[in-house]
Symmetry: C2
Subunit: 249 residues, 2 copies
Amino acid sequence: MSQLQRIAIAPSQFQQGQILLTKEQQHYLGRVLRLREGDRFIAMDGKGKWWLAQLAGEQAQVLESLLVETELPVSITLMVALPKGNGFDEVVRCCTELGVTCIAPVLSDRTLLDPSPQKLERWRRIAAEAAEQSERSFVPTILEPVAFNTGLSLVIGHLSFANSQQYICEARAEFPHLKHCLQHKGQMTSDKGQETIVIATGPEGGWTTQEIENAIASGFQPVSLGRRILRAVTAPVVALSLITASCEV
Amino acid sequence: MSQLQRIAIAPSQFQQGQILLTKEQQHYLGRVLRLREGDRFIAMDGKGKWWLAQLAGEQAQVLESLLVETELPVSITLMVALPKGNGFDEVVRCCTELGVTCIAPVLSDRTLLDPSPQKLERWRRIAAEAAEQSERSFVPTILEPVAFNTGLSLVIGHLSFANSQQYICEARAEFPHLKHCLQHKGQMTSDKGQETIVIATGPEGGWTTQEIENAIASGFQPVSLGRRILRAVTAPVVALSLITASCEV
């Protein structure tokens, strides 16, 4: 069971046993995932090819190619406002089973607490256990909790917008249902690399109007998960269920 | 918040303030839902009309029509093998939020315990609370736990097969994904009445081969929820997420 973190690359970045990293990827690996020179990670080309790679300056050395059968062909990041109590444990567990790539816990205006560092360790342990139980090839990355606006820039900072979809879920508004918005980009051109989906779900009481506006300004599309009001711990599992089903080959 | 149970009728059964019940509906109301003469229930015609009705022999008296905005236009029954521990509480809570109509807990060959009557009361209380929190108009029915084969005949006994879909979820087999199977019968003829979907999810370790075969013999189609192995408490939420999204208007 690998604990390595993953990034999506375009097939054209893979050249003679090396991966030429873009500026955005260098930033994501170093600043978001906090990898250092010589650290290993997984590079995926979105066409079913996975490589074990080692960071070496502005490029990465490919160490070996990997066989993967239980992972989705799409990179899925869940930005989730931390719920009260221990409910987040179950969110990490269920979303890992479903196939999430990265979970970015965020503190929203309506989030009360700032979790302890022990919590982060606990969530990473739960993700590792759930990945093993669900027979996944890789353990999802759990990022450190940050303020919502910081999370927005971290998560979208490395995205290629030509090939990514960003959604923010909100109840009680007349937004279109997520099912109508999910785009199926099965036929990608070889230069675009792996498809990425980012989905954000809110705290008890929902996102504030300002948070929704900031997300929209960052390229997020507001969506609904249906007419009934879901708890903050149910919404991520429902959203992931719809996204992973739409991506499953 | 109404605690009334619901049945689906064909629009043609509604005549001059009365609902003419079929033999199957009489059996379902009396034997499965355990209603008695004079008890009230909800009748739905699958076209957005809901009535409060009162059982009177082989028919029902319509007391008033109801305004419903947060309920799905489809009746969804979840047959679920009871998981170990207290995990079922969360299944009841999440599936109620998602819009389930009826939950039928069953004891499978791999189910270890027979729950106490206090458990049933507890689940019904959780369903009532979750229905209120999620702003539903009605509380789902939680049936008494029965053996799987008994559950099969109870649940399908009152179905009109022309207008129902039955699925049983199983991992590790090469069954088609539920998303490919869900049929959208939006254009129903007025005689067929409300659409019904029954979905069955298994225990830890999965259904036995015999259980799958019995379900198939009862008209169930075996389906997959994806390539990763979901826990017994996650699978019902994932299945309901896909079904309710496909039904949401």
